[in-house]
């Protein structure tokens, strides 16, 4: 494989993984802290993309970047206070069922309000167009499309390649979000409590630290990440009611492959899945089963996922 093709496929794998990572991070955060399996996480993403496209179309995109995650945070908090908390004492199966039911309701509600067809999500001016990766600028043709595009020097490739700028933005946003989340958990008292809760919720309760108060914020945080995913991923995954369910199953597998409740595991699994999809694109037979194949193999070889803790959720 020539270096340019390889570079493009790596980029594609990263970008495919980025969207799974954003959704899986929220899932695994909520699961790890609350032990709550949220099958409605895809529905949160659906709400986010419709909110984003509505805000962006009526005002401007920058406003959507601020408003939508904030809105999703609020929805997440309300979701926790209004519903989830009544399910902590109920079995995990009930949690799966209620959120699964909610996902159906949200999808159908969005279809009712916005229709089943795609709503075009126009990219903002600054985010549209191509990005040029070059090793030798002289190889880039002297046309405005390339000359005025954002560019980055990359070693090893021959001449230059282009990629959709927005997808590079998505990768960057994912990285920033992940870094932000890790920093939040690493350097704040809130993060300390949450991390302790993820390690040993029983012990925290035992120590009398009221993690319940933090739960709403954790769900809000997970939802806000879905909000970020919606704003930046919406133009790529398209704005349809069915996209939530389509993304949920692979994202859930990402969480399981990475290990339930493991943030870094989710990140690595997401990239793994992204790369697998990218590199199997031309092998139609493998392409459609590759995600499940990886999940099955990982779970059989490493039953608790790549970074799973012993005994979580068994």
């Amino acid at each position: 494989m020539d270096p340019n093709a390889l570079f493009l496929q790596l980029l594609t794998g990263l970008q495919l993984g980025a969207i799974y990572a954003l959704i899986a991070l929220g899932l695994t955060l909520i699961f790890g802290t609350l032990g709550f399996v949220n099958f409605a996480h895809g529905a949160l993403y659906v709400i986010a993309i419709y909110a984003a496209v509505t805000v962006a179309a009526n005002t401007n995109f920058l406003l959507a970047i601020i408003l939508v995650p904030a809105l999703l945070f609020a929805i997440g908090v309300a979701f926790e206070r209004g519903l989830i908390r009544h399910f902590y004492t109920r079995p995990h199966t009930d949690q799966i069922l209620i959120t699964f039911g909610l996902a159906i309701v949200v999808e159908e509600l969005m279809k009712w309000i916005f229709g089943a067809n795609n709503i075009p999500f126009t990219l903002p001016e600054w985010g549209s167009g191509l990005m040029v990766f070059y090793s030798d600028w002289s190889a880039v043709p002297a046309v405005p499309v390339f000359q005025e595009a954002p560019s980055l020097w990359v070693p090893f490739i021959e001449g230059f390649v282009t990629y959709q700028f927005w997808r590079v933005v998505l990768i960057a946003v994912s990285l920033v979000t992940v870094a932000g989340l890790f920093a939040l958990l690493q350097f704040t008292r809130f993060g300390l409590v949450v991390r302790a809760g993820m390690r040993d919720p029983e012990m925290l309760r035992f120590l009398g630290i009221n993690i319940a108060q933090k739960f709403a914020i954790v769900v809000g945080l997970g939802a806000a990440i879905a909000g970020i995913a919606g704003v930046f991923g919406g133009p790529i995954t398209q704005v349809t009611p069915g996209v939530g369910m389509a993304l949920l199953v692979p994202s859930f597998l990402v969480v399981v492959i990475g290990g339930m409740g493991s943030l870094s595991g989710a990140l690595i699994a997401a990239i793994l899945i992204g790369m697998a999809l990218s590199f199997s694109a031309e092998i139609a037979n493998l392409q459609q089963i590759v995600v499940y194949l990886i999940a099955v193999v990982v779970l059989l070889v490493r039953p608790r996922g790549l970074f799973g803790k012993k005994g979580v959720f068994e």
């Binding site: 493009l8 594609t12 229709g115 089943a116 067809n117 795609n118 075009p120 191509l130 069915g242 459609q288």
Partner: protein, 454 residues
């Protein structure tokens, strides 16, 4: 023992104590008509008793094609209205036996159901309409997979199915059925129409790369385009299958970018098409040069509803369509005007197909003088007619139940060219029926018996 419930509505049955008592006496609900007249021992819901005849409309109400299904249902309701009260293409269709007072003296009513664009659900909903609601025919659908499933059920149960939107060759090819008719064109005809235009505009030595929705229509479409373009001297670099309902095509587009191909053919429909074409444009495919030529996009099958979703991304992209509301002929005008009057916006091509199909069926009953399916089928076979929305005459070929009529080569309009939000496709050329008519032995297939063969 006659099937008394067939002509009574469910509500009447529930209300009527006598009917309740009758139903309790024997499970005659489950007993098939044992003495239908004529050549067939048992036959669907024939004969029709009472003052009304029921049509069944099975359309996608949920799922990715829900909007298209809603448009189909609007058109079907309009068709029933016109059959019962006159209007629409009843004023333009020639020859015509319908009088605008129902069919064979009976008022047409209808029931509808959600096929979910899913072959299993299609059969479920069709069974309900046939067994419970006693429909004499059914119509609708927005996918070739559901069309094939519905046709074979139609053949089993002896109820005529007038296909809605289905574009795969199989529907009137290897999966053709005596009880199924298709007004919509097919991928082979698209290929015949599109091939020469592509060669003329893009040259005869292009290298094509196909992305194909992984089901019968996608493969049919891809095959037809491959045959047509290779006939013009093109080569086909690769044909990659994409999962039905995929949301992100970047890995497939990357494969295209990494290939030597300079034309990207997107054999997608509905949301798949909107996604893939939008993402292809975002990837800069249309700004790209390969092998020293401008890279081109082709979307073989267009629909207005999809064009709405794809927005500006389809500007200048070639494709074909079965019909478009902007056509200027009496039939099209009659239909578009009455549709727009009733609903406030123009109909889609899927709506047109369903509308025409319902009226053609009703007309065939009137011409045959009976609802007896074999006679109705014979009345449709080889029937030539005009005034159904095309500029020239159309024909239902007897041997495969494919309708032949003009098809249209279109390209997406730019934002500035649009007169309204529905004015998205510009008709580049009208491809005459003779160009797209192909020999019946192009595809193998058996229609089957005039009597139901379950």
């Amino acid at each position: 023992m006659k099937f008394t419930k067939r002509n009574a509505s469910r509500r009447q049955v529930l209300k009527g104590g006598a009917a309740v008592a009758g139903a309790l006496a024997t499970p005659h609900f489950f007993v098939k008509n044992a003495w239908a007249q004529g050549e067939c021992a048992t036959l669907g819901n024939f004969p029709v008793e009472g003052p009304e005849v029921v049509f069944g409309f099975s359309v996608p109400k949920t799922g990715a094609y829900a909007d298209e299904g809603a448009d189909e249902l609007r058109a079907q309701e309009l068709a029933v209205e016109h059959i019962n009260n006159g209007g629409g293409i009843l004023n333009t269709l020639q020859p015509l036996s319908l009088t605008g007072q129902g069919v064979l003296g009976k008022k047409v009513t209808y029931v509808s159901g959600d096929d979910q664009t899913n072959p299993d659900a299609t059969r479920q909903v069709a069974r309900r309409m046939i067994e419970r609601d006693g429909v004499i025919m059914f119509n609708g659908g927005s996918s070739s997979a559901t069309a094939v499933a519905a046709q074979s059920l139609a053949q089993e149960l002896g109820v005529v199915f007038m296909n809605g939107l289905t574009h795969a060759n199989e529907t009137t090819g290897k999966d053709r059925r005596r009880y199924g008719f298709r007004q919509f064109f097919n991928t082979h005809m698209t290929g015949l129409a599109l091939g020469p235009v592509l060669a003329e505009n893009y040259g005869t030595d292009r290298a094509a790369f196909h992305l194909t929705a992984d089901y019968n229509w996608g493969h049919s479409m891809s095959g037809s385009i491959k045959d047509a373009t290779e006939g013009e001297g093109w080569s086909t670099i690769n044909r990659v299958s994409t999962p039905l309902g995929a949301t992100d095509y970047s890995q497939f587009l990357t494969a295209f970018l990494n290939s030597d191909a300079d034309v990207l053919v997107l054999n997608h429909y509905g949301n798949d098409m909107v996604n893939s074409v939008t993402q292809a444009v975002q990837f800069g495919v249309r700004d790209m040069q390969k092998n020293g030529r401008q890279v081109e996009l082709v979307v073989p099958l267009y629909s207005r509803l999809m064009a709405q979703g794809a927005g500006d991304n389809i500007e200048g992209v070639f494709g074909t369509t079965n019909w478009n509301w902007s056509l200027d002929n009496p039939g099209a005008k009659a239909f578009v005007d009455s549709f727009t009057d009733k609903y406030g916006f123009p109909p889609s091509q899927a709506a047109h197909t369903c509308y025409v199909q319902v009226i053609l069926y009703a007309d065939a009953c009137e011409r045959a003088g009976t609802f007896y399916a074999p006679e109705v089928i014979r009345a449709l076979e080889g029937h030539e007619y005009e005034g159904d929305g095309y500029n020239s005459a159309s024909l239902y070929r007897a041997e495969d139940h494919q309708s032949f009529h003009d098809v249209f080569l279109v390209r997406g309009k730019s934002a500035s060219e649009r007169a309204s939000e529905f004015d998205l496709l510009q008709i580049v050329s009208e491809v005459p029926r003779s160009t797209v008519e192909y020999p019946v032995d192009t595809f193998e297939g058996e229609l089957g018996d005039y009597c139901p063969t379950a």
